[in-house]
Each structure stands twice: as C-alpha cells, then as structure tokens.
Symmetry: C2
Subunit: 380 residues, 2 copies
C-alpha cells in the first residue's frame, strides 16, 4: 500500500541545507517550504477557496477541537468529508484538538487514558483520547492528521516535561493503531520536549521508530524567545528523517518562517496573518503597517508598493483604513487577503533563494527591510 | 451639452405597460428594470466589486450621509471620486443624505434653509441643506445623485405633507442650481406626497417642470401596506415622463419589485438582501428560508435548487448554517451573495417576461411558488 503522504526532496540550499521539496497528498501536491493558512472552523476567516488557490495555497489547516464541537464531525462525515463540506479540493491538515483542550487550563484533567475537560461553548464535560482524536480526524477526512500530544509550557520543569514526552510517545503509538484510513490519510507525529535537548532527542527517537509519514515540531512559539526557538530547532530538526516532511506548528511571523526554513523546516501554519489583518495590521516588504492609523487616512498608495496581490493592485491604504474603521467586513477581508498572500509569496521567494543558493543573503536583505535588524524590533 | 444620464425605452409589456429599457451613465449602461445593491459606506457589505459585476449588477448605491461622516467627502474627492476610491468602474447612485438625517427624529430641526441635527457617531451638531447635499454629492462623484427631499411619515397629516411637498419642490430647485457637475453627474428629483393623490400630483408636476434627467418616488416602503404602496404607484408613475428613468426608493422584497415593475418602475434599491443574509435568512424560488435553523444542520442541498449562482453551485445549506452559527464572516458573505444574486436574477426574469409579454403570468407563478399568495404571507 502506497503511503497517503509522500515527500520528494528537490534541492538543498548549499550554505544552510534548507530544503526545497514537494509534498504529495491524496488532494494534489504542493511545493515546500510552504505556509498553510488556518481555517479553524472549516473556513479561512473571510476567504473564499478560489482566492486561496489564486494566491498559491496548496494546503490549509482546520481545527479538530472546533469542528468536533461545531458542526460535529458526524455532520462533516455525512457531507462527504471536510473537502466536500467546505468546497476545497486541495490538501487539508487537521490538528489533533489537543492544543486547544490543554489551553483550557482551569477545567481540564489529564490522565494516561486521555484528557477530560469542559468545552468553551457550553461548559459540557468532554473527553479526548488518542483514539477519540483519531476517530474525529478520520471522520473529518483531512489529508494530513496530527497525533494527540501534550504541549506543556516551554518553561515547565524537566521532570514534568520528561513524563509528558513519554506519554506523548505512548499516545502517538495508540493513535497510529487507531488510525482507520491509512490509505487516504497520513498521520504525523509531534516531537515535544520544550527546551531540553535530551528530551527532544528522546521524543524524536520514539516517534521516528513508529515510522510516521511526516513529523511536526510542537511546543514552540508558546511564549519563548525566537532565539530559544531557533536553538531548539538547531538540535531537533537533524533528528528527523530526510525523506519525510517537517512541520513547525503555530509559527507565522516572517522572521521565524525564514529562520525555520534555514533550520530544515518544510511546513508552517499560524492564524497570525488573518488575526492581525482583522485588527487592521498588515505585513509589507517595508515592515508592519497599522493601516487603521490616522496617518493613512489620505494615503492613496497600496498597502505594499512591492506587492502584486489583488488587494495591492486594486485598493488603497485610505480605502482599507476607512472600511476597517467603519467595521466593514470587506476591509477585514482585504487586510486578511494581503497578509496571507504576503506569507505565501514570502515562501515563493524563499524557495527561489534555495534554488539560487542565496538564502542567507535573502534573509539579511529581508530582515533589514522589514525592520527585524532594529533594536526593539516588533514581533512580526 | 449631452445629459449625463439618458434613458432608452426598448419595449413596453403588452398587458401592463411595464418597461424594458436601458439607462446610460458616464460609467456604462444597464438594462432596466434593475435592482441596485446598496453599499452604504462605499462597500456592499462583504462583497467584492468583481462578484457584483459577475452577477450582473450594473449600478450600486452608496449613502451620502454615511460617507460625509466617514471618511468624509473630501477624502473621497482626493481619491479621485467614489468610483476610484472603492474600485467600482460601473454606475453609482448616491442618495441625498436626507433620509438618514430625518430619521434622527430626536435631534433634528427642519427649517426652510435646511436641517440641523446631531450625527449618530459622536453627537456633533451638523447642518444639511440642498446646497450642502449637492456639494457632498458632487465631491463623491456618483453618476446619479438624489435631491435633498423631506420624507415625511406615510400617515402624517394632509396639511403637514402639503407644506413638506412644497418645500421639497423648492429644495429640488435649489439643488439643481447648486449642482456643479451636470456634464458628468445626473441629478434626480424625488416625488413625495405620502398617500395623497393630489399632493403626489403636485409634487410630480413641480419636479417635472424642472426637467430632471430622472425621477424617484420616495416616501414609500416606510411602514404602509404593500396595497397602499401599489395604490400610490398606480396614480404616481403615470405622472412621470416616459423618456426618463423612474426609481422606487428603498424597496427590495421580491413581490414589491414585481408589482413596482408592473406599475412602470425601472430602478429599485434596498439593504434587504444583505441585511437578512447576515441574519441567516435567504430568498429562494420556493420562498424565504432561514438557513440558520436547526433543521438544515444535515441538509446537503444548495440554498435554492433552481439557482445557478456561485453559492448554490458550490455550497450546501449545512455548511452555510454552520458558518453563520459560528459567526464566520464567509457564511454571512455567502448568504449575502446569494440574496443579491436572487434579486438581480429576478430582474433578469422580469425583463424576459416583458420581452415575452407574459409578466402577469410570471407574477402569478412566482408569487405562488414564493408563498406570497398564502394567507399571512411573510413580508419577503
């Protein structure tokens, strides 16, 4: 039986080893490094599927916890799966639901069997286990599924993280056994271990022995510094097999994407571009721009004069500012659209830099123009 | 000098006299009868201009009062006018701002000179006169502008309405004199007079003598019954010249559109399709459908099985219900899109029925299928 998810390495950048590759799923293939837009509730907020395709998004994310609650995975299954339900015929990745459940810190209780919690909508008591996560994800039918893991705080104690990593490995194995559709869905394992090199090493070793078709690095971008994150990637990515895709979870700031690619990462996801867009902040080749600020009221230039997206070809800062100030949905849409395009286009540029073996030069000029080289640089 | 707005009568329906025609503006022409989507704040809520064009909207509305306040007509003027500001290269019509101002009943004071009021955003005292309305509308630069009129309640006293009609005529003349761009903007007069035939007659006579390039019928769809509205149209429309377009303001329910066309109306506008869409109600060939109701949770059919719009070709009731229940913008967008398409497509069908001289048969079968023939029929 052919695996549902395969990875083909096309080229390694000469100076950094950054990977240009291709991931093939039952719903088409996409080039990596790739940024994946997040459609939490089976919709990338405000975006039509055609718009995501136009900008080159080959795969999107959706959230198991949220879809489990609304509309319920049974309804998605009856619809013929998530692709049909949401009218998206390219790749989809679902998380395990664990991250959201563990973040309900006040109401959850973790045992070896799984986690009991009260859901955020109506407070009803619910139970999530590796097997339950797998059943939900099999019903949703995404191309790539994530194992149920525990994602402890980055600065948790060594002893706690050690136990947590061991449990995450046991849960990964249980999920793999419970996975009922290996022919059309690929399950990824998630390497945990916070900032501890030996625990990351143990986690990676455990998971690699289970031979997943892909691996994620979890437990990062949860409050630690970017230097900390890069340090963990420096020693974790080399532990993962070269013939499988590598996914850094929950990372979406431009600097972290580039630095992740330099450390061998292939896939990223984050709500950042749509979330900050809805708040009136956009990413540009000259750095972040808070378009709702008064100084843009009469600025009839595009969000980014170096951008060729639909928004920058057709709308001005003044118009987008007006719409966002007036709570017009179309303004939130335009800012979200531009930000998603920005990150997907950034990954295009990064892939080109890998081809051209000048990724470090690209990083330097991008960081300089964006403002990441400044003292007290903004976070994105 | 050629008038900015011209009307060409193509055909009158044999049994009713309903008109198929064409209105030409400085930004292209459109066939009538036509329903015009409303973009209050320079955006038809949630809709991209390309989507409106795809569904055949040849002209849209925007609101003078709202744009005066936000972003300010001076900014729109600096942007190069409303068309450039909002990226819409077809027809635009702006109202005079009067309707919104008069609806601020508690804070406004009407004199012969104009109306003083406190705006709804920050309570600042403002003044609107026929000349001020014209200056704002000239700065906005829409193809069709409306005169500042007074729109009294339908069941106001005869004496009040008589005085109000006379003032509206004087204001119309002042607006015409203040209009600074007759070469590229057409100003329409608005016939008032509530339900009084002699006052409607006087109002029409006054305005027709001023030779506007088009005429609106105002003061309807403000709480009176549809039978009352049709009665007023029966005696008002024949007072208007046959070589100018006729616009019934603020009407958007499907039955009222058809009954208006039968009485000689060419243009309509209303926020109804987008407003009810955002609340989870859609118009279908089988009548209104509250898609957010629980009974559609597992309904994997389109909103309307007779509809060929983008939404009905790609999405199910179950998906749209899920999105709206979860407050996802894309759900509000899909419902708004479908409703706008429904009314614009209805006008296509009406134009065909005029060509085929079977408008009354079309009315009967549409009303029967929609449920307007039922006792206690819903309002839309």
């Amino acid at each position: 039986m052919a695996p549902a998810i395969t990875y083909r390495l096309i080229k390694e950048e000469k100076h950094t080893g950054a990977r240009l590759g291709e991931v093939t799923t039952p719903h088409g293939s996409f080039l990596t490094p790739m940024f994946m837009p997040v459609g939490t509730l089976a919709s990338v907020k405000s975006m039509a599927p055609e718009e995501l395709k136009d900008m080159g998004a080959g795969i999107i994310l959706s959230n198991t916890y949220h879809l489990w609650l609304r509309p319920g995975e049974n309804i998605v299954k009856k619809a013929g799966g998530l692709h049909k339900f949401m009218n998206w015929d390219q790749g989809i990745l679902t998380d395990s639901g664990g991250f959201q459940v563990f973040s309900l810190a006040d109401t959850r209780n973790i045992t070896e069997e799984g986690v009991t919690f009260k859901n955020h909508l109506n407070g009803a008591k619910m139970f999530l286990s590796p097997e339950k996560a797998m059943q939900i994800e099999n019903d949703l039918g995404a191309d790539i599924m994530m194992s149920l893991d525990e994602c402890p705080p980055f600065f948790e104690s060594y002893d706690y993280v050690k136990k947590s990593v061991a449990r995450t490995s046991r849960w990964a194995e249980r999920g793999l056994k419970a996975h009922s559709r290996p022919e059309d869905q690929g399950l990824f394992g998630i390497v945990q271990g916070a900032g501890f090199q030996d625990l990351r090493t143990q986690s990676a070793k455990d998971l690699v022995s289970l031979d997943f078709p892909g691996y994620a690095i979890g437990g990062l971008s949860v409050g630690e510094s970017k230097a900390e994150m890069n340090r963990v990637l420096d020693f974790t990515t080399p532990l993962l097999p070269g013939n499988k895709p590598r996914y850094l979870m929950g990372v979406g700031s431009p600097d972290a994407l580039i630095d992740g690619v330099i450390r061998g990462i292939d896939m990223f996801d984050c709500v950042l571009p749509t979330r900050i867009g809805r708040n009136g902040t956009v990413m540009t080749s000259h750095g972040r721009l808070v378009v709702k600020n008064a100084k843009y009221a009469e600025d009839f230039t595009p969000l980014d004069d170096n951008c060729n997206c639909y928004v920058c070809r057709n709308y001005t800062r003044a118009y987008i500012r007006h719409l966002i100030k007036a709570d017009e949905m179309f303004g939130l849409h335009l800012a979200s659209y531009h930000n998603l395009y920005f990150l997907i286009h950034l990954m295009n540029q990064v892939r080109q830099a890998i081809m051209d073996d000048n990724l470090l030069e690209f990083r330097e000029s991008f960081f300089e123009a964006y403002g990441f080289n400044k003292e007290k640089a903004k976070n994105f």
